[in-house]
């Protein structure tokens, strides 16, 4: 691999559509690493100072850590994997060049490897502080990330979501029974093999439409068709639902509902934000026909937001169902709705900023990171973290409204800047 090719991969992955791709890619990655290390050390320090109890049952702590590992590692890699499309111009170009197969594979691995490194820079100090007494949890978190990457590429998203869910469920079940590490290694092999089938042998079946709408509903709901018929959003929705079901099942099974109460809903908010940041990228960054050929920017944003609400409604449902016995319904619904609204709007805002297109790995990563980290950072930065949960609903609604107001400003700014360098 030549340095020119490596730079081409880096710039198309992390600084696509920018004025100075090399400088931008370098700056963005440097900022990501610095932020990841800073946040990781900061969180590790907070955890150390909080004095974690040492007498917690290993099985549920393990299940908790592993689910978090899947969500954090898996989610980021899922969104990256979804972007690693064969329709990517650079991938298509490279496939026509006389390069060895190993170089082609290396080219495909560079962006996720860098993102994995950024994620590890954040996670390593946190995991070290936790001092978990069992090794398999680490392995499973890594296997979950690898599995997520394989699952996210290729075809048949619904089948892959099912494979992911079954794998995760089985792994958690084994973990709670303190099986030796070899069992997990053996377990991962058939799942990885099964998951890779869709990647290596793409389905040759013709593209089928999932749902149709009556003609009179099209003006208001056409974006829903766009969402449910697009492979990227199908993948993202399938996996967010699978992850939500896994988390809800774990909470119900290990009876963890009382531990954090409505606080568990942050998990579904993370899923919502990560999926929502991908919605804007379904349309082109500039000169989007969805804007210009239809009813203009206001119509586009209204249609997009209306359709994206589905993303905010579906993921929390399993969690709300298992938390209802432990939390008053009014508190759960008020807090849950406000949090989901904020997650949705933060996701759409991050999407409006980066517009992560198919194959635009860097934008995908930065948008997912911005939207999800904002959910954790905002309560701390604005100081409402220390307030009672009932006050959080108002704060999250304010966050949602602020993001909602910022989105058209960003889109208008982009329209005015189009092709004027």
């Amino acid at each position: 691999m030549t340095s020119r090719l490596a730079w081409a991969v880096l710039t198309t992955s992390f600084a696509s559509g920018t004025r100075r791709p090399r400088t931008t890619a370098t700056l963005r990655l440097a900022a990501s690493f610095i932020a990841a290390i800073f946040l990781g050390l900061n969180l590790a320090g907070s955890l150390r100072r909080s004095g974690l109890p040492t007498n917690l049952p290993a099985d549920w702590l393990g299940a908790l850590v592993m689910t978090s590992g899947f969500v954090l590692f898996g989610l980021i890699l899922l969104s990256i994997g979804a972007a690693l499309s064969r329709t990517d111009a650079l991938a298509r170009l490279i496939s026509t060049l006389p390069l060895p197969a190993s170089t082609r594979r290396l080219v495909a691995l560079i962006p996720p490897a860098i993102i994995l490194a950024v994620t590890l820079a954040f996670a390593t100090p946190v995991v070290m502080v936790l001092e978990l007494p069992f090794g398999p949890a680490y392995f499973l978190a890594g296997a979950g990330a690898a599995l997520a990457l394989v699952l996210a590429t290729g075809h048949a998203p619904a089948l892959k979501a099912l494979v992911f869910a079954v794998f995760t469920g089985t792994a958690i079940w084994l973990l709670t029974r303190s099986q030796p590490a070899a069992v997990y290694y053996l377990l991962s092999l058939p799942f990885l093999s099964l998951a890779s089938r869709g990647h290596v042998r793409p389905s040759a079946r013709p593209h089928r439409r999932l749902i149709q709408l009556p003609e009179r509903s099209l003006p208001r709901w056409w974006f829903v068709l766009k969402l449910v018929r697009n492979r990227r959003s199908q993948l993202a929705l399938s996996f967010s639902l699978a992850l939500s079901v896994i988390t809800a099942t774990t909470i119900a099974w290990r009876d963890l509902g009382a531990m954090a109460g409505a606080g568990w809903l942050i998990m579904s908010a993370v899923l919502t934000a990560a999926v929502a940041c991908d919605v804007r990228g379904l349309s082109p960054r500039h000169k989007a026909p969805e804007v210009e050929a239809l009813g203009g920017l206001r119509y586009f944003l209204a249609s997009q937001t209306r359709a994206a609400i589905l993303i905010a409604i579906l993921p929390p449902l399993p969690l709300i169902a298992v938390l209802l016995p432990h939390v008053p319904a009014a508190e759960l619904l008020t807090y849950g709705l406000a949090l989901q609204a904020a997650a949705l709007m933060l996701g759409l805002l991050a999407g409006a900023i980066f517009v992560p297109r198919d194959g635009d790995t860097g934008a995908q990563f930065f948008a997912a990171t911005l939207s999800t980290s904002a959910l954790f950072a905002l309560p701390k930065l604005t100081g409402f973290q220390s307030q009672p949960l009932s006050h959080h609903a108002v704060a999250w609604l304010a966050v949602a409204l602020t993001a909602l107001a910022l989105i058209p400003l960003i889109e208008t700014f982009r329209r005015h800047r189009y092709a004027t360098i």
Partner: protein, 247 residues
């Protein structure tokens, strides 16, 4: 008093980079006329088209049917049909039928036309272009069929100015002929057609007037008949002008 032309461009400036800016002092397209914008690669054809259809910011004045598009974008766009040279210019997840229905509802809501009438135009235009893939998702259509969808979508609301970027790209010879006849018949009914192309042979056959651009400036604006009478062909004039410009 002379009636407003279909398109009127005055002191237009679009800056795309430090090295390139489009500067058009004046461009006038009457109703029912067919004008081709020709020029070498990078001469500013698509930039001019994008400014006319409101896709790119500009300085100066562009009027469609007498209305400035920056002041009356909705009214101007209601009178404008645009066929881009971009095969992603639609919502790729929708079927052709759904896309036309969606456009109809948008136009109907804007008071441009009524849906039943637009359905008839869609069917009529599709018949002429031999387009049948109404139930197929737009993203999965062939290159030529995507172009046909763009032509149908551009004409369904009966615009008074149609702007076409590289009409022939992607179309087979039969479809090109059908599209040409379609645009000629529209022109006969008073619709102005502005087409950007680098195919000078086609421009000579198709257009009544040719505008040539070089490095963002108009270097020729003349009737096709005058050009061919003076130079033998539009291509010969183009080569002579570009040769002179380079020298």
């Amino acid at each position: 008093m002379r009636r407003a032309p279909a398109l009127q461009v005055h002191d237009l400036q679009v800056r795309r980079s430090r090295n390139f800016a489009l500067n058009v002092d004046s461009l006038w397209v009457d109703k029912g006329s067919v004008l081709c914008i020709a020029g070498a690669n990078g001469s500013g054809k698509t930039t001019l088209i994008e400014a006319i259809v409101g896709l790119t910011p500009y300085q100066g004045s562009i009027r469609i049917m007498g209305r400035p598009i920056d002041l009356y974008p909705k009214q101007a766009k209601a009178r404008l049909g645009y066929v881009p040279d971009d095969d992603q210019w639609f919502v790729p997840e929708l079927t052709a039928a759904e896309y036309f229905a969606l456009l109809s509802s948008v136009y109907e809501r804007s008071g441009v036309s009524i849906r039943a009438h637009m359905s008839k135009i869609v069917q009529h235009t599709a018949d002429r272009l031999k387009f049948k893939a109404f139930d197929q998702q737009l993203g999965s259509l062939s290159h030529g069929n995507k172009k046909k969808v763009q032509i149908i979508a551009a004409l369904m609301h009966e615009p008074q100015l149609v702007v076409v970027d590289e009409l022939r790209n992607g179309l087979d010879p039969l479809a090109i002929r059908a599209a040409e006849q379609l645009f000629k018949s529209l022109s006969a009914r008073g619709v102005a057609v502005v087409a950007a192309t680098h195919d000078l042979w086609w421009a000579e056959r198709f257009a009544a007037e040719i505008v040539m651009l070089d490095q963002g400036r108009v270097i020729l604006d003349a009737p096709t008949g005058t050009i061919t009478a003076e130079s033998g062909s539009v291509e010969a004039k183009f080569l002579a002008l570009y040769g002179a410009a380079r020298d």
